[in-house]
Symmetry: D3
Subunit: 316 residues, 6 copies
Amino acid sequence: MTDYQTPRNPDMSAPRYTGIPTFMRAPLADTLENIDIALIGIPYDGALTNRPGARHGPREVRNQSSLMRAINHATRINPYELCKIADVGDVPFNSVFNIEDSHRDIEDFVSSVISGGAIPLSCGGDHSVSLPLLRATAKSPVALIHIDAHTDTWDSFQGSKFNHGAPFRRAHEEGLIIPEKTVQIGIRGAQNVSEGWDYSEGNGMRVMFIEEVQNRGIEAAVEETRAIIGDTPVYITFDIDSIDPAFAPGTGTPEIGGLTPPEALGLIRGFRKLNHIGADVVEISPPFDNGDLTSLTGATVMYELLCLLAETVSLR
Amino acid sequence: MTDYQTPRNPDMSAPRYTGIPTFMRAPLADTLENIDIALIGIPYDGALTNRPGARHGPREVRNQSSLMRAINHATRINPYELCKIADVGDVPFNSVFNIEDSHRDIEDFVSSVISGGAIPLSCGGDHSVSLPLLRATAKSPVALIHIDAHTDTWDSFQGSKFNHGAPFRRAHEEGLIIPEKTVQIGIRGAQNVSEGWDYSEGNGMRVMFIEEVQNRGIEAAVEETRAIIGDTPVYITFDIDSIDPAFAPGTGTPEIGGLTPPEALGLIRGFRKLNHIGADVVEISPPFDNGDLTSLTGATVMYELLCLLAETVSLR
Amino acid sequence: MTDYQTPRNPDMSAPRYTGIPTFMRAPLADTLENIDIALIGIPYDGALTNRPGARHGPREVRNQSSLMRAINHATRINPYELCKIADVGDVPFNSVFNIEDSHRDIEDFVSSVISGGAIPLSCGGDHSVSLPLLRATAKSPVALIHIDAHTDTWDSFQGSKFNHGAPFRRAHEEGLIIPEKTVQIGIRGAQNVSEGWDYSEGNGMRVMFIEEVQNRGIEAAVEETRAIIGDTPVYITFDIDSIDPAFAPGTGTPEIGGLTPPEALGLIRGFRKLNHIGADVVEISPPFDNGDLTSLTGATVMYELLCLLAETVSLR
Amino acid sequence: MTDYQTPRNPDMSAPRYTGIPTFMRAPLADTLENIDIALIGIPYDGALTNRPGARHGPREVRNQSSLMRAINHATRINPYELCKIADVGDVPFNSVFNIEDSHRDIEDFVSSVISGGAIPLSCGGDHSVSLPLLRATAKSPVALIHIDAHTDTWDSFQGSKFNHGAPFRRAHEEGLIIPEKTVQIGIRGAQNVSEGWDYSEGNGMRVMFIEEVQNRGIEAAVEETRAIIGDTPVYITFDIDSIDPAFAPGTGTPEIGGLTPPEALGLIRGFRKLNHIGADVVEISPPFDNGDLTSLTGATVMYELLCLLAETVSLR
Amino acid sequence: MTDYQTPRNPDMSAPRYTGIPTFMRAPLADTLENIDIALIGIPYDGALTNRPGARHGPREVRNQSSLMRAINHATRINPYELCKIADVGDVPFNSVFNIEDSHRDIEDFVSSVISGGAIPLSCGGDHSVSLPLLRATAKSPVALIHIDAHTDTWDSFQGSKFNHGAPFRRAHEEGLIIPEKTVQIGIRGAQNVSEGWDYSEGNGMRVMFIEEVQNRGIEAAVEETRAIIGDTPVYITFDIDSIDPAFAPGTGTPEIGGLTPPEALGLIRGFRKLNHIGADVVEISPPFDNGDLTSLTGATVMYELLCLLAETVSLR
Amino acid sequence: MTDYQTPRNPDMSAPRYTGIPTFMRAPLADTLENIDIALIGIPYDGALTNRPGARHGPREVRNQSSLMRAINHATRINPYELCKIADVGDVPFNSVFNIEDSHRDIEDFVSSVISGGAIPLSCGGDHSVSLPLLRATAKSPVALIHIDAHTDTWDSFQGSKFNHGAPFRRAHEEGLIIPEKTVQIGIRGAQNVSEGWDYSEGNGMRVMFIEEVQNRGIEAAVEETRAIIGDTPVYITFDIDSIDPAFAPGTGTPEIGGLTPPEALGLIRGFRKLNHIGADVVEISPPFDNGDLTSLTGATVMYELLCLLAETVSLR
């Protein structure tokens, strides 16, 4: 029996439809120690305001992420040569019916991951999960690159100030992010009141509406963002609805006219060698997807973020 | 029982999956009077030549249009602050099996809407409905902005000269449109004969094939169109197949290589403050849609047209 | 303008794809008074434990219910001749993020419907909504006909005792239902512990597992149920997952091997002239549906329940 | 080049996903002569009243019918050994926008097929096509076996008495069918008025509602029908909506609670050695199908009808 | 870090959309020893003759099998209390392009599983995989319960005698099965030649065509099968196409008119306490599935087979 | 019977949903002689390494290609006026289970087509089919325009050096292509090793990664390619996965961030009047498609290639 390869150490050269699906076919962790970058699933969507399903996101992203491989064709980064990477599983939940309790479950698990020495790369889940992620990750106020159709700096909805349209307002109030080093890219979509947009801009965040991004181009967006962030520790949060719904239909609040995948990939690749401390991809809702396209797109975004994190970690 | 809010006056701040779906959650009309802009459904597809289903368009666009909200992020127009807007329901049909009778039903209903003082913003239906819409709307010959993959100036098909490939030839013959002030944008797709293209160009219409639009850019297309139209009363007709089928697959005659949503939105927003007298969005076929993407796109196009009309109405 | 038929009074003889979709093309209410049977949407799914989407149920059931018509071919009941029937819209929610608050919203709205003189026929929503429905409807303990794959007499899950697997345990504890006059039909599906089954049977409820129903036949199930219920006021709750997922795939907790539609219709038609006080259809999740089949099935179940209620009301 | 097998004579032993799809991989005809049974496509849906798409039926049934093979496992009939069978293509249309003209196109083509010596087995198209099929086929009044959810003996709708709910009322008026030898099996679904049911029964047709069929069983239905028909020349018309929509969702007017496929196959196989003169399968609407299930079911029904016709032809 | 529960030991009481999907949420094996029943994925479809995709079967069945739980409601068997059960992963392949080499990969892996002391419960894969499974499992000729639409005793196709229509002819030739103790249940579907049916019957196998099963009932089929098998070691192979395609559309060779799920479950539950040595579920093709229904059905069949095996193992 | 138009000579002016689907409604050949351009289906996917289904490509492309018409709107080429074009059917296979034998079947059939005097325009099938296509077409080493996400110059996978990632490595080894006149356009997607990229570049092929194409523009890519190819006989192979998966989701190895359809059409139209000897479109997998979008895109690419070939042939 010596030659039995256990299913938790998948072989990346095996046919891609085989094996237990872990994030990007990374090994399943036995412990939270001795990992550089921890891939985390956060199957939670209790804070969203419209179409549900992001709770199914981690599982389908894991499934589609088997199509990812090692060497980035554009940057030639091979994250697996640079770092120890493992799938540490999903956040275990004790209370999915109460947003604040669920956020505590997330914060606790991610804190233990970080205590073990890894930096987190998460897959949500609705966008509310970025608040407990920042609570666990930001030991002091951090810079934020926020790619999204919405600023998510709105206030209460249906009685909760922790809904998925509010996490960065809360993060700002809690001192987790530096507003002058917060860049929100891809913003669009009509609103009933302008409050969220006004909050971001009124508090010093840089809001790049989609038309500005499209008119000035990705290179300009990258350069300005890099100038704003500098070498401050930075967290990247990527809402899949930043991308146009033809490329990523499976999401809760689609807005047409978004980023194309080349634009999205161009943005991420533009943020190499920043002082990365973590990242997430959120709002992938498989029940609203067409042919797993959104999960594939989400998996690819996650892979590109992994390349970013791995390069930065390897340079430390 | 005094606090009962009737379901025909939906609350735009309620969760978007709730309530009876009216166009953009506008109130349902009790009367055709005292409305500035009337939202009209035209569930008719008896004149099309290929894949059916546009009869289901108004219902699904109403459904998806609950995702629309008030303030346009790009233009900051809030149409509901500028105008009285109501959903007046669908054209009532007495004869769906005879194109000419059906067109009369449409013309009659839209005429009564206009008599009540409103200008019409319709959702089709196949493109043949634009002919009775123009008959009701154009008291004298009008300018036409026609965004489409096809010129729809072909002649009879299968024995009917009122099929959905012919409305603007008929409109020209009937003196409803000014050919020199007619601009057709986004034209593409092979044809068995060149007759329709030739008819448009031979009669003085400006035909912008898609390659020209893509090469010169949206800004140039807008500027030339504005120069052609001037302040002549103008009707906008938007065929959803002008947009690439990845973004709008649910249509009867898809042609790949079309407008992207940012291009389409850029076109519409370029036509602010023209002398608008009405508009329509047509050829949305839900049975051929993928995950309601086309209906969402159609709803967004309709919302952007609403912003155009509302601004113009408010300036009169 | 005198001949304008407002869109809130749809014409049942119009083509079925036309018009604003109300439940079964019933008129939209202007007031909660003067209605015999109120059709209510409850777009809430905050209490479910697995696949989400039941919040979209009422809208899609309204959409598909346009295929319903007046005269039942099997019973020849025409509910519209027997009663005044109206769609009173959706329960208005103030707090979708807290189960107990949401249940209060439901109870309040349904109570006001009942105060107006109507009996409620609701469309959910997850099954937790039956608890506030019973709170509003059961002035004293009532009999319950419960058609479902699950007994829904389980206890807390993830910290909440109001999750969608628990409503009838809570209803029993609150004295809303008479356990000896509670019949649960169609139960099946593996469980991790037997506690829910045991609770039902241990408290005197009659649990008919699906195999028993299939072996003894619908007629026997109906007869026994009628004998148990007698003329006690009775509420019927119909979970769409009682039906086999080939016929009703769009639901949160599918279990193969369920009722066929002829069996389900046979059950409902068997309950004519009982002392009906209300009914609901729940757990229809359109994002997991195939081609609207579940919504069509749910609409038909709702129509059959309407026939039951209308006949009983007309006999009072 | 002598060994080139032309694509119009497909090889039934080739992999079933290969080749140009003809009905059941029968050869394409070069002429209408020398054929015993002609397989005909009727891609027409201009007479339907609800969901469209039956125009796409023949093409998708041809596609799925490649899964059919030669020897019937239940009856051991091999129609290809008994008869000359060919696909003669689709009815060529000159006027799809006028029901009466389209019906003339159908009657003309089918008449020429019959003049060539073949009996027709057609695939629609909406159910209105059975009227011109009967006009071409019934030289004198014939018996009719009509398997359907609806009696299709209703009168005018939206101004046309040739809509798809009326063909057998018209056929009766035109003296094409013998009402006392007309059996309608599987009838169900609510109606706004009872007129169609009353017309059938009032004129002597035998209407077997679905509940009767389910209660008495297929064998009883077959026996009674055979007794009614005797050896009168008989035409079979099979509306796919007779089958439950879980098995055949792709149709214009679905009604839950229909025949199961074993029941439908049992019915057809019960009609061996009657005096068959033709048959059709109608109302398959691929745009509303789930995974081609309805087209596969329709192809299998067509194959079973082919076995019936072939056996009868071989016995003449 | 002591409280970290590794993702390979999932918690069955966690929400069912969470966690790495193993078969039925069983733990992932670290070794092939100390397991009573090994759950094995065989993602191979290189031997099929029609629609592909069964290679994706194990992954989607794992995904849907999270809906399975512990206690069987009908038999009250809890397999996890009776046996040690683990997911040992997928067969590792070295050569997916050559059927015979692939079969050797399967046989080798399953042999090592059996050497470790477990009995195999596999999820395919096309039906050709049952041949290497029998080679590994049948130390001497065994009895076979074969539930399928096809006898799979046909000969070569396209030059290979190991295609998925031939495994039990080969198994018979190789002396792996006892033909007089082989029962084939559910057979149907036309064939071009009768050779496969004839081979089965000519060699003493008991072929129960679907009509016989439907007419005599499941109980009779079970009794006769039990009488034939006796206490001979028996292998069960379950082809998902035995079930009607409305319930299991995602398969390579669908044939309408098959078993219903209650019939299929009734069959399996009828085989309690036989001398089981292994089982498989095959031919689940997710790319042809509708809404994961086939994978859910396959997962439930696998769970019921697990109950059978566990009970027998516990009684040894 | 003289006026019977046989179904093998379809009428391009008939409604597009009618008739037996041949490639672009070209006539079905009776012989391989007297054809200028032969349209060939190659329903083979036995050599692919990931998601299957390309075997269904030719049939669905034929189906969707009915939407193609005669005159190219951009180039005004009408291929049917320039050449004799016919659909010669699918490659007949004798051995789908052995890659090398299958490749021989393809080579033999295409060779006979070429012997008849036609040049081949094929529709695959997985990309391995280009190897036998080149063997049949390239009498001496040819230039190659290869539009794809992958260089397909990798080596063995799972024991076969003829898998679909290797055809151009083999073609190079066999002396079928001139590496210095081979241009690979659109390359992207991570890889586990860089070997394939290195092989192409190390052997003198011009590899244009997607980012280069996007940055420099289509015009630059066309110009450089034309300069490289010159008037050497050239074969074009178009893998549908070169196009972004939002526009062409139905493929085996999707990689986000690909060509848009306007870019793809621009590339093809840029290659007018080269010395074309044949072309193919491959890797269209209908089971993974959304709403036939990929087949429509593939049909349009095939039509554009037909225009290229026809113009070149007409100029010879």
